[in-house]
Structure formats: C-alpha cells, structure tokens
Symmetry: C2
C-alpha cells in the first residue's frame, strides 16, 4: 500500500510557521520534508530543492524574495513545482509569482488539511489557488474587447496578418502564399482599413491585442 513519497522542501523565514508546516507535513504518511530553510540563499546552497517534488515558498523573504526564488528554481530545476504562500492576499505579488513560474498559491492561514490537499492536488497536475486569484486569472484570459469593436478578418487576411508578424516583405509573403506582390498589397490595405491602422507594426500589435494572432 506504500506508494512513492512526495518530497517537499520549505523556504520560510518565520521559524514558527516553518516548523508548523514541517510537523503538519511530516505526520502525513505520503509526504516527506527533505529540506527546510529560512531564506532562498540558504536553500540554493543545498541540493534538496533539486530533488524536491514540491517547494513551499514564502513570498516575503529576507534577501532574495520568493518571486526571485521561483525564477531561479524554474531556470535551474524546471521539473520542481513551486507553491507560493503569503500572509497577505497581495495580488500583485501573487501574479508576479505565477508569471515567475509558481504553479499554485496559498494563504498562510490555510489549515493543515487544505495544505495537504493543495500539495496532493499540485502533484496530480492541479494548481491550488484561492478563489479570488482564480477569478482574476480567468479574467486575464478573456479578451478585453467589448464585442462592439470586435473585428472580423477573412481567412486570407488572417493568413497575411500572421505573415506580417514574421517580418516578411510583400514579395516574400506573395511567394509563401502563392499570390502576386500586388495581391498581398491589396489584402494588407484591407487589413489596415479594418483595424484602423496604417503600418505593419500597428497591425501586428492590434492582432495580438485582439488575439487574432
């Protein structure tokens, strides 16, 4: 009935918090705390981070912040899943952490049972988050356009807009989609009209903003 242990490292400067987590996690039969540090600097001198399945990391740390810590781990040990934690429901930092590579976010007030569930969820491919963070993340995914100024480009135009973003000349685009240089010109004119722009870079920018590209 014994399955592989989930190896966990902790980076947290508050010793009571840290020892609290340690004791909670160590009493679970499927968890094993293999490292516990008061700062990123101390943690990265050691090898336990690289051997961890999960790193539980505070955001507010003396010296290297948790955000920088996540970046470091992502670059050097891409397979390690970092779950951030903060006493504060500080959205900016949370988003920075996610962008830096964290796969989840917990509040420190999270109870022992939820903490354990979050870690198991993270191991199973989930991303433990507070509901508020989840909503903000969803909102970020949604296009901002109101629908009124929604632009519809034809397939041909979309095709050419994508070519534009690669920096090709009229001639080069023509060759790659089997159309004359002037044919490409014709479509680009129309793209400009539809997007209300008058340069390639503007068109590409709008294309990205409106998720056409």
């Amino acid at each position: 009935m014994e399955s592989t242990l989930i190896k966990i490292s902790i980076v947290e400067d508050n010793i009571y918090m840290r020892e609290g987590w340690e004791s909670v996690l160590d009493t679970e039969s499927d968890f094993c705390v293999i490292g516990s540090y008061g700062s990123c600097e101390l943690a990265f001198e050691d090898s336990s981070i690289s051997r961890s399945d999960i790193v539980l990391m505070d955001i507010e740390l003396p010296g290297m912040s948790g955000i920088e810590g996540v970046s470091y781990i992502q670059e050097n040990h891409p397979g390690v899943n970092v779950i951030m934690a903060s006493v504060f429901d500080d959205n900016q930092h949370v988003f920075d952490a996610i962008c830096a590579g964290a796969i989840g976010y917990l509040l420190k007030k999270t109870g022992p049972e939820e903490l354990c569930n979050a870690i198991r969820s993270a191991m199973e491919g989930g991303s433990p988050m507070t509901p508020e963070i989840a909503r903000k993340v969803i909102r970020l995914m949604q296009p901002k356009q109101t629908g009124a100024d929604k632009v519809k480009l034809s397939d041909r135009e979309l095709e050419i807009l994508k070519e534009l973003s690669t920096g090709k000349s009229y001639q080069a685009i023509g060759s790659s989609i089997f159309l004359s240089e002037d044919g490409v010109r014709y479509h680009i004119r129309n793209i400009y009209k539809k997007l209300h722009v008058n340069s390639r870079s503007q068109a590409v920018a709008k294309g990205f903003k409106q998720k056409l590209i």
Copy 2:
C-alpha cells in the same frame, strides 16, 4: 438569518440532468432556480437569464452551443456569471468557453455538495474549475520562453518597443520621448539585435510573445 437568495438559471438539454440539478439546488435554502431550459434559444426568449446571478450552462447543446450562449449572455447581460459544465473533460471547449466569458467550469460528474460550493464560490468572486483546467490556465499566463533565450531589454528599449507597436515613425518616436531621430535609430538597432529580428513588425510580434508589451 435569511440572506438574499442566489438566483440560478439552468440551460441543459438532458432532462434527467437538468431536473437532477434543479432538485439539488432547490433543496438549498440559499438557492432559487428561476429558470430551466433545454436550449439557449428557449432560454433567451425568456427574461430569467437577465435576472439570474448564476447561469449553469451545458457546453454541448442542440442548436446554439453553450459557447455561443456564453458570448450572447456576456454581450447582453454582462453582470450574469456563467458556469459551464460538460460531461467531457474537453479542454479546447473549456478554453473557448472561458474566452467567451464563462467564469468557471465544472464536470457534470461533480457531486451535489461540490456543485453548491462551486456556485457559492462563484458568487463570492471565485472561479470554480477542475484542478487540471486551473493548471493549464496558470501555464497560459506564464511566459513560454525557456529562460535560455530570455531577452532583457533596457527600460529605454522597452519604451521604444512600445512606441513601435503604435506605428510611429522615427521622428514621431523621437519627439514623444525627447530624443533625436538618430537616437531612436540607435535603440531600434539594438532591439533588433537582441530580439534577432530585422523589422518593426517582427519586433512587435516578439514583444507580445515574450510579454514585453
């Protein structure tokens, strides 16, 4: 002790499923099912959608799909929160739904208790999702760059890259950031070198892809 009821509408073509949800939700003292329909077409003829706090909507529907339904609701009743549901863990559709404006996603196998919790979470500003979806969403937020080919532009270069995306000429950029035309040229050269491109549109495209803009 009586607080405001959460008004819920259901759009689901399978009548057993629909009635199952209805009975589950109606037994909760804080919920009130104000509408229940077998298709979007039927639902949108009625006014209950517009009065709903939450709409529980199937993705796979005859006629107008749930995805289209969400778009419609978003455009016409932006304050209504739509939670999508699907029997299938079909990521593409889920993402389409989220992009169309859904604020959460549930599997139909979700139990009664979880369903109720999801609705309450949605009302409190959360975004109920399966763990797998949550992880994918997080991944979407994270820059795709591997870290090896990560590019660092200076503040000045970033400033100019943003100007580039607006389609300004060298001269116009120079005026707006108080720099000579040739100064702008100098920076754009360097941006091109760092991004390994040789045109404005390519630079803008890379800027968006690497989330520099």
